[in-house]
């Protein structure tokens, strides 16, 4: 086997490359900073790969086109940021209610409102708690490098098809805009269930209906318990995380996305001074790797959560760790100039040790 050629690309381009490798047939999107490299790349490359690219009139139109294409059984995706992701929530709720796969990429910018275009992690709650109406969850994957922007986009398609629910790649403007070297891995062979629920025209056979309306007595409740069981299965089988230097750690720093890269440097600085600090990075934000947190916190009782917000993931950390574990929080709400430095985080580590 010949070695794959490395590519030096922006995180956003890695997402778009992975989508094509994953066999995305339809992309529907709308320009918004800092994710516009994704539609730009796909407008150029997807038609060459035999797919369809439409620049849609709105984010609402785009997510509903994803719904329609996905209902036909093809791989479809959209991407956006901040205000655009808010607009897509209606369609994401309908997709969740219709048990439709589909990939949504959220390159977070600061908010609320128009906010700004700087890196943010303030969409953690919106992404992981069901951003639209009706009490549903979607798969949420949090890359922390251009390589993972590539790999997790591909994984998002597979998990979404496997579990019949929308999947989101939750990144931020640092990860979207930063250029790094990646290996564009080929699409892995995965055994996925046949999409025998898709609308294709009956062909004279059985009628397929993709819908989220349940009016019959008990139907809606039954749907919710079915999805609840699916979320549990997802947590059992698909929780993903990365640990660094946790084996002997007396303090574990936990962060996701771009913040985890800065935190890792801070952990290395602490280790260089003989301070026993480790890093726990959740890769799946939904399902949140609760068991891994619980297991680690049986031994290590000091935790420091770092986020680019006033604290969102920290809620899940506090729920997941052992009752006698102590969870501190350090946050920098998103906006220009609010990205913490490694030195700044190292100071926080020393304060808590």
């Amino acid at each position: 086997m010949t070695a794959l050629k490395r590519k030096f690309v922006k995180g956003n381009e890695a997402v778009a490359m992975a989508a094509i490798e994953a066999g995305v047939q339809c992309y529907f999107g709308y320009p918004i900073t800092p994710q516009s490299d994704i539609p730009e790349y796909l407008s150029r490359e997807l038609p060459k790969a035999g797919g369809t690219f439409i620049q849609v009139e709105s984010e609402i139109g785009a997510i509903n086109m994803v719904l329609g294409a996905s209902a036909c059984g093809v791989r479809a995706m959209t991407s956006s940021s901040g205000p655009g992701i808010s607009l897509k929530q209606e369609g994401i709720s309908y997709m969740a209610g219709s048990e439709l796969p589909g990939v949504i990429v959220d390159i977070m910018r600061s908010g609320p409102g128009l906010g700004g275009i700087d890196a943010s992690q303030a969409e953690y709650h919106q992404a992981t708690k069901g951003g639209g109406h009706g009490g549903y969850r979607i798969i949420v994957l949090a890359p922390n490098s251009a390589q993972e922007m590539y790999d997790l986009t591909m994984l998002a398609f597979d998990l979404s098809d496997q579990y019949r629910m929308p999947a989101m790649v939750l990144a931020d403007s640092v990860l979207g805009q930063m250029k790094e070297s990646i290996v564009p891995n080929p699409r892995p062979t995965v055994n996925l269930p046949a999409k025998d629920w898709a609308v294709r025209g009956t062909g004279g056979g059985q009628q397929n209906v993709v819908k989220s309306l349940y009016l019959g007595d008990g139907e809606m409740e039954k749907f919710h318990w079915k999805m609840h069981a699916r979320y549990q299965e997802l947590a059992d089988k698909e929780s993903r995380w990365e640990e660094y230097q946790t084996a002997d750690a007396e303090l574990i720093v936990t962060a996701f996305g771009c913040t985890s890269r800065i935190a890792r440097t801070a952990v290395e600085m602490a280790r260089a001074e003989g301070i026993k600090v480790g890093l726990m990075r959740p890769i799946t934000l939904f399902p949140f790797p609760k068991k891994a947190y619980a297991d680690l916190s049986n031994r290590c009782k000091k935790w420091l959560t770092i986020e680019l917000s006033t604290g969102q993931m920290v809620d899940d950390v506090r729920l997941a760790v052992a009752r006698d574990a102590e969870v501190e929080f350090y946050g920098r709400p998103p906006g220009a100039g609010s990205l913490p430095t490694p030195e700044e985080l190292f100071t926080q580590i020393k304060k808590f040790c």
Partner: protein
Amino acid sequence: MKQVFSKPVSLKDVQTHFCPGCHHGSIHRLVAEAMDSFGIADKTIGCASVGCSVFLYGYFNIDVVESPHGRAPAVATGVKRARPDRIVFTYQGDGDLAAIGTSEIIHAANRGEKITVIFVNNTTYGMTGGQMAPTTMPGQKTSTSPNGRDVANDGKPFKMAELLSNLDGVAYSARVALNSPKNVLQAKKIIKNAFQYQVEGKGFAFIEALAACPTNWGMNPLAANERVGSEMIPYFPLGVFKNNENL
């Protein structure tokens, strides 16, 4: 015995939930007859909307995707682009298409999506309970215009078939009614044309069907049927506003 009349095979042999005197049943039947005439039901995907028309899948022998309110033209775009060899249509009411879904219908039409749109204009929100629609007539009393639609406050009713006919992407745009045998026969021909445009891959076709809603108009079926002719048709003229075979 010679059979002279039969139900379209594209329709299921079931009772509908529609109220007495409602025109949805007639429109369903004409759409089914159009599908039968081209033998396309088994390769047709319907995009249902929200309200009385959501139960499309209960009455047609076709695959159906349920769309969020107003978004059926976007859903249909996704379906048609994913499966260009299928026949795709939306079936939408006035609160759906002409209010919350204005953006989606205008842009699908302007892109010239090769789909057929069936737009049922009964001047009110049916299932929701008779509220004012974008097509509610001037002076018409509804549950949210208790003193009658005030055009100074709410504007005048949208004439969607005319509005869309002005877009270059639209191949066919027409308005029909179901209030008399003559109009039903004319509607049958026009709805068939709208599907023929798609069968031949010619482009976006739009049918506005004027329909009675006796329940929400507070009328008996006969009076409601008469209102279509006496009040609606004078404001919403019947006819073909765009017929561009050269797209």
